[in-house]
């Protein structure tokens, strides 16, 4: 049977990806340029008996998805820069309470209201450092409509597998462009569900590390009664200020992601085997970079592309190795050097890093990148 094909907008694909992953609850608040995610799910979720709620504000939207997640539902919210700033309070709550949830954040210009309809890639540091305190961060940065679908499915998988919030961050171009998408058949993409407790209710502890760094999470409204708090907690879920516990729990919450980078981090290498100049790019900018690499190759310049698919955890190991093989790295991005700084931080000075930064609401075009390739080759 022929596969289902459609001409879809990025945000619509994110919503469809969520449904494929088994999302049954969306809590949101309208914000450009992510609103279509909410619109599609307001239409689709009730058809499958799922729930859509438009909350009173961004914080309320984040709160509603965490509450719903604790009943066992797979949950999603969607937002953009200013909304992400507001949601950070409760993203931290989801981190410490270890409640799976997915946040689609469409990157627009900032700070503040910035440029609501202009593309940007300037929320990538917010994805890691936006909420206060030490915490894990997973952030996926898809580059096409197809990939936005697939990475939304993967985001749900990672959220459920690691009991943590996961962000999907398309830039506004990826979120708003329309492309051909081939829908995966049911079962074609892996769908991971939450691990249910294997012990009877009277023995259950919501943060029982005898089950490893990711303890099983029970659901409210079953026979399992437990306590959830945003305070530092012990294995039983109740607040504690015992120094050893707090230290151990904080470290575990970060470790459960950091120790599994090979499972989480995905990237694409394009023409890098013999490359002398490597572009490190993500999102729509990586599409301009690929075009520039092809043009450079036509002119005999050995250029290649390292495309970041998972921004957090950052592909440090791979980029460090890459830096040892090339003469120069170019980092085009729609911000003033966020990815560039991270790249510099993980390559031990092995190669010079040349940034191309644009924050005027215009995409970085292939010509700009090609020019830089010729300059540094």
């Amino acid at each position: 049977m022929a596969k289902k094909v459609a001409f879809l907008q990025g945000n619509e694909a994110a919503a469809q990806g969520a449904l494929y992953a088994g999302c049954t609850f969306f809590g949101g608040y309208p914000i450009t340029p992510s609103t279509e995610v909410a619109e599609v799910l307001s239409n689709e979720l009730p058809k499958i008996g799922g729930k859509f709620i438009q909350m009173e504000d961004e914080i309320g939207a984040m709160a509603s998805v965490i509450g719903a997640s604790l009943t066992g539902a797979k949950v999603l919210t969607a937002t953009s820069g200013p909304g992400l700033s507001l949601k950070q309070e409760l993203i931290g709550y989801a981190c410490i309470a270890e409640t799976p949830c997915v946040i689609v954040n469409v990157m627009r210009g900032g700070p503040s209201t910035g440029m609501p309809t202009g593309p940007s890639q300037s929320d990538v540091m917010s994805a890691k450092w936006g909420t206060h305190g030490d915490h894990p961060a997973i952030c996926l940065v898809p580059a096409s409509v197809q990939e936005l679908f697939e990475e939304t499915v993967r985001a749900f998988n990672l959220a459920e597998k690691y009991r943590t919030p996961v962000m999907v961050m398309p830039d506004e171009i990826v979120a708003h462009m329309r492309e051909r998408i081939v829908f995966p058949e049911p079962g074609e993409l892996e769908v991971i569900n939450r691990t249910a407790p294997s012990v009877p209710p009277e023995q259950y502890k919501p943060y029982d590390t005898s089950f490893g760094d990711v303890p099983p999470l029970a659901a409210f409204g079953t026979n399992y009664r437990f306590h959830v708090t945003g305070l530092n907690k012990g294995q039983d879920g109740f607040p504690t200020t015992k120094a050893a516990w707090v230290q151990a729990e904080e470290e575990r919450q970060v470790r459960k992601v950091e120790a599994n980078v090979d499972d989480i981090v995905q990237f694409e290498e394009y023409l890098l085997d013999d490359a002398e100049v490597a572009i490190v790019a993500f999102g729509s900018t990586s599409r301009s970079a690929r075009f520039a690499v092809n043009e450079a190759r036509k002119e005999g310049i050995k250029a290649g592309l390292f495309r970041i698919k998972t921004f957090w955890p950052f592909p440090e190991k791979q980029i460090n190795a890459l830096a040892g093989k090339v003469k120069a790295i170019i980092t085009p991005e729609m911000n003033l050097g966020m990815c560039t700084g991270v790249v510099k931080g993980c390559i031990d000075g092995k190669a010079p890093v040349h940034g191309i930064f644009r924050v005027d609401g215009e995409p970085i075009n292939p010509g700009q990148i090609l020019e830089k390739i010729k300059e540094v080759k």
């Binding site: 009730p46 914080i59 309320g60 509450g67 604790l70 959830v228």
Partner: protein, 270 residues
């Protein structure tokens, strides 16, 4: 036979954090009696709170308990109730948590008329942080951040809830302990968003600054200012000056949110 509170208290979680003379424990006992009267299944009952002294209540109760972030109880609870409408969802917290930082979530939960019960323990102060004025601190009162007297007008929590669309609103006091469970029972039985404001006392951070000589004096104030709804109907405006009306203040039937959303699902599936 004395009422067995232990059936609902989590083993090993007492003593509670509340100061001697604080009314929050009286409210918790009232809530426990209400849960018992209604025979609510602990497995199917979520108790959700924000941040503050009163918001520590859920941790003591052997139910599905969710101690959220400051002011956010109503929004978290809305997620729980929407995702699992068959659950009993009870919120609790203080006046600062509920009407200042959580004011937006509070009024919108009222507006939606979602079937949950919100118990607001109003002690007119931010107790946990040491006695700063709240939206419910009386004008002129002393708080750690109003050393010259409070210039702010204060909220009437019950009127705020009625104005925002809550379909059941009641008020009691920590002094009138035996009335608390009756009000909560009626609130939980009501289909829609119900608010029970309990006038409470904070001897530690409010009483001392405002010349209350003892807890007894604070409790007596609650006794003296409270006028039951029925009695108030027969009183003149002049007689009601300085009094606070207690009992069921507002009860109307309106479409309930999760029931209405079930209809959305029906329409979508046609």
């Amino acid at each position: 036979m004395a009422f067995d509170y232990d059936k609902y208290i989590r083993p090993g979680k007492l003593p509670h954090i509340w100061c001697p003379g604080c009314g929050h424990g009286i409210v918790m006992k009232g809530l426990i009696r209400a849960i018992d009267t209604l025979g609510l299944d602990k497995n199917n009952t979520a108790i959700v709170s924000g941040i503050g002294c009163a918001s520590r209540l859920p941790g003591y109760l052997d139910c599905c308990t969710l101690h959220t972030a400051h002011g956010r109880a109503a929004a978290f609870a809305t997620g729980v109730k929407m995702a699992k409408p068959e659950m009993n969802v009870i919120l609790c917290g203080g006046d600062g948590d509920g009407t200042a930082i959580g004011g937006n979530h509070f009024i919108h939960a009222c507006r939606r008329n979602i079937d949950m019960t919100y118990i607001i323990m109003n002690n007119n102060i931010y107790g946990m942080t040491g006695g700063q004025f709240s939206p419910c601190t009386p004008t002129g009162a002393k708080a750690s951040t109003t050393p010259y007297g409070n210039p702010d007008p204060s909220f009437d929590v019950a009127q705020l809830a009625i104005g925002a669309g809550a379909t059941f609103v009641a008020r009691g006091t920590a002094y009138h302990a035996t009335q608390i469970d009756k009000l909560i029972v009626e609130a939980i039985q009501h289909k829609g968003f119900s608010v029970v404001e309990i006038l409470d006392d904070c001897p530690t951070t409010y009483g001392r600054r405002n010349k209350f000589k003892s807890v007894i004096e604070m409790m007596n104030r609650l006794k003296d200012v409270a006028v039951p709804v029925k009695a108030a109907e027969k009183m003149t405006a002049e007689q009601l000056q300085g009094k606070i009306i207690t009992g069921v203040l507002h009860k109307v039937e309106k479409p309930e949110y999760t029931t209405e959303y079930a209809k959305v699902i029906e329409r979508a599936q046609k």
